[in-house]
């Protein structure tokens, strides 16, 4: 029996048509997602230097090398989680504030909304280069303003925590509009009656926010936090352009570690193992985060 007959016997005409429709997407997914992941997975179990691709099977040696690397455990992972927490928390807080402000009708509301969305249209690497020069100790506008106000100019990118704060600031600048947009959409979809009832009862705005807005908006907030946390975990471009992970690895995140191992040191084996280790970590963290937030939502209902 030919494959055509087998296909005909297994699927009806409508199902075959549906399969035909999704075939291009599946082909692309297999070629550009599944196959690279499979090759990366295979590389992570091999001694695979790009310069000398012996591809000898080494079992879990590359994973052990990553997980016993003090830099990975003591610098890279703590930095990555700190960055994830700081960026998501700050972006959520400011995004919520913006969404609440934009949820009230005012003159030029559309113009303000458009302006607030502009950072979303800037490529992260461009934003990072811009920030690098804004915080330059000799030519940066930040030091100029600081000096005008009587402060001392600083070498912002030389100190670990100020460099880290600039990375977080850049990321927040880029992502606050995204939070604001999604939360605003959520706010506008909430039923009006509970808010009208609260207004008739003379409830304070803070109590309305705490006891009505946040609980009703929780599903949107959870989705925002989970998606953005996963995305923040794999942040690469802004850190690479701003600090390159420096000074002396002090701002190195997981993605920089994996990239440098694979593409600067040309060690595809260890680089792939690092990337897959990070992938597994964020998978577990994402699931845990979703469960915790979902549990909080159910308890509060």
């Amino acid at each position: 029996m030919s494959w055509r007959n087998a296909l005909r016997n297994s699927f009806g005409e409508q199902q075959r048509f549906m399969l035909l429709l999704i075939a291009p997407a599946v082909t692309l997914l297999v070629l550009f997602q599944a196959v690279p992941i499979f090759i990366g997975g295979s590389a992570s179990f091999r001694d695979w230097m790009l310069t000398n691709p012996k591809k000898t099977w080494v079992g879990l040696a590359q994973y052990i090398s990553v997980l016993t690397d003090p830099a990975f455990l003591e610098i890279v992972l703590p930095n990555t989680f700190l960055f994830m927490f700081a960026s998501v928390t700050i972006s959520l807080a400011f995004g919520m504030a913006l969404a609440l402000a934009l949820n009230r009708p005012f003159r030029a509301q559309k113009v303000v909304q458009t302006i607030l969305l502009l950072p979303l249209m800037v490529a992260p690497v461009i934003a990072a280069i811009m920030m690098r020069w804004m915080f330059n100790d000799q030519f940066g506008i930040v030091n100029v303003v600081l000096e005008t106000l009587g402060g001392e100019p600083r070498a912002w990118l030389v100190d670990r925590w100020s460099a880290f704060a600039i990375i977080v600031l850049t990321d927040c600048w880029l992502w606050i509009p995204w939070f604001a947009l999604l939360l605003l959409a959520g706010l506008q979809s909430l039923p009006k009656s509970p808010f009208e009832a609260a207004a008739i009862d003379g409830t304070t705005p803070w109590r309305v926010f705490r006891h009505l807005t946040v609980p009703m908006l929780r599903p949107v907030i959870i989705v925002c936090i989970v998606i953005r946390s996963i995305d923040a975990f794999r942040t690469f471009d802004i850190v690479w352009a701003l600090t390159g992970g420096g000074p002396a690895r002090q701002t190195e995140l997981f993605s920089i570690y994996a990239y440098e191992t694979a593409f600067v040191f040309l060690d595809f084996g260890k680089g792939s193992a690092a990337a897959i280790t990070g992938g597994l970590i964020i998978l577990v963290v994402g699931l845990l985060l979703y469960r915790i937030l979902d549990h909080v939502r159910k308890v509060s209902l």
Binding site: T51, N52, D137, A155, G244, G246, A248, E260
Partner: protein, 432 residues
């Protein structure tokens, strides 16, 4: 209907003839594909190839590649046995990385004009002892100084003199900083490396050794825990925090930031690639234009020879995997480039890069004082060191070194020995 069919048939036949004819014409003209990174040096070098191509009816196809992915992309191309490029940009950093993947060039006649130091077998020879590169131009890191601020007799010969001169110029409000140079990874040459080599110090030991066999025999011992390296770290720590003769942000500076400070007229001395000489002297780009000259490096307290310098090359290589006929053609072209006197003098004039044909240096020097300075301080200087190490772990070693020194100069002064001791272990582990 018949007419329409005839028209279609005639059109198809015509198209086939056209395609066949064009294909024939294309087949007659041979082509060479050049993989390069757009840059004035490479552009000028390729102009020589195009001139040769026009004379010999060979089409030169330029394939630009981004610097950021060049090594990865080219290494992948070479290891996969692809024949997509006939000639590729090569340099000393990748000399041993690619030695087994690129064609021996010992039969290229024009190589006899190359500088023996920068074509050192330890960098570019394959395991059969055959050289694998044809040079494109000399790349040198040089000390640039402001001639309006510093007279030749005042040029610092030692680190102490550099500090004293900087302080004097800063105190007189003639300039904001005495010195500026890139310090962040991958620009270590312009601060840590030059000072290290001028204090009898090196990343790996034995000192100034570049033979991998010797380095391996010495168990890839790092030089970071040596007293000379402590002096290097302390010199830069003092320059940053005590003497304040360099911008405080320098540990995060790459080329762009350091060059911006110098061209803004805010520093009296810098170390940068000689390829920036033109930019430093360009009135449209530099406040220091017309007032910039080169000199040798000041020595540290443990130095035994004056001004240790480096002088390497950018070059061209031919992938092993391309057909023999194209290899032969590419070698003819590269040999002709080495003998293209007019093109090489144009390379010097356009870029400030000494041409790969060393016989032309003296000829250019007859009329050009800049070349005379370049010869005096760099090209003919007997105190040379190779500016990298030539094995596959070098990028990891370089990063470990850079991290250790940046940590040392950005931490507390009393923590410098600890930072260097940790760095010595990291460098050793990265190298072995």
């Amino acid at each position: 209907m018949i007419n329409a069919r005839h028209r279609v048939a005639a059109s198809i036949a015509g198209l086939a003839l056209l395609v066949g004819g064009t294909g024939g014409a294309i087949a007659q003209q041979k082509e060479l594909r050049i993989a390069y990174q757009p840059n004035p040096i490479q552009d000028t070098s390729i102009e020589m190839m195009e001139k040769w191509g026009a004379k010999n009816n060979i089409k030169i196809v330029k394939v630009p590649n981004s610097y950021g992915v060049y090594v990865e992309k080219m290494t992948a191309s070479l290891t996969s046995g692809s024949d997509q490029y006939d000639v590729i940009w090569h340099n000393d950093d990748w000399g041993q990385l690619w030695a087994h993947l690129v064609e021996p060039m010992d039969d290229v006649a024009g190589l006899k004009y190359a500088d023996p130091w920068s074509n050192d077998p330890v960098i570019f020879n394959n395991k059969d002892g055959k050289i694998t590169v044809v040079p494109m131009g000399q790349t040198i890191g040089a000390l640039f100084y402001r001639t309006d601020l510093i007279k030749p007799a005042q040029l610092p010969k030692t680190w102490a003199e550099l500090v004293a001169l900087s302080k004097k110029l800063q105190a007189e409000k003639k300039v904001k900083y005495g010195y500026v140079g890139a310090m962040a990874m991958n620009t270590t040459w312009f601060s840590f490396f030059w000072s290290m080599w001028n204090n009898n110090c090196d990343v790996l030991l034995p000192l100034f050794e570049r033979s991998n066999a010797v380095l391996a025999k010495n168990d890839w011992k790092a030089g970071l825990d040596q007293p000379c390296m402590r002096q290097v770290a302390e010199f830069w720590w003092d320059a940053l925090h005590k003497d304040k003769i360099v911008p405080p942000g320098m540990p995060s500076y790459g080329r762009n930031e350091a060059n911006a400070v110098f061209t803004a007229g805010d520093a009296a001395i810098t170390v940068a690639d000689t390829t920036y000489w033109g930019e430093f002297n360009n009135p449209a780009k530099s406040k220091a234009a017309g007032k910039v000259a080169i000199a040798g490096f000041p020595s540290g307290p443990m130095s035994t020879k004056p001004s240790v310098v480096w002088n390497e090359i950018w070059g061209w290589a031919i992938p092993k995997s391309i057909p023999a006929e194209r290899k032969a053609l590419a070698k003819k072209m590269l040999s002709a480039m080495m003998e293209d006197k007019e093109g090489q003098i144009a390379l010097w004039k356009k870029t400030g890069v000494p041409p790969p044909n060393k016989d032309l240096w003296a000829e250019i020097a007859k009329t050009d004082p800049n070349m005379r300075e370049m010869q005096k301080y760099y090209l003919d200087n007997p105190n040379k060191v190779h500016s990298a190490f030539y094995f596959e772990k070098w990028p990891a070693v370089h990063k470990a070194y850079s991290d250790a020194l940046v940590k040392a100069v950005t931490g507390k002064r009393e923590d410098i020995p600890k930072a260097l001791a940790e760095g010595a272990v990291n460098v050793h582990n990265a190298a072995k």
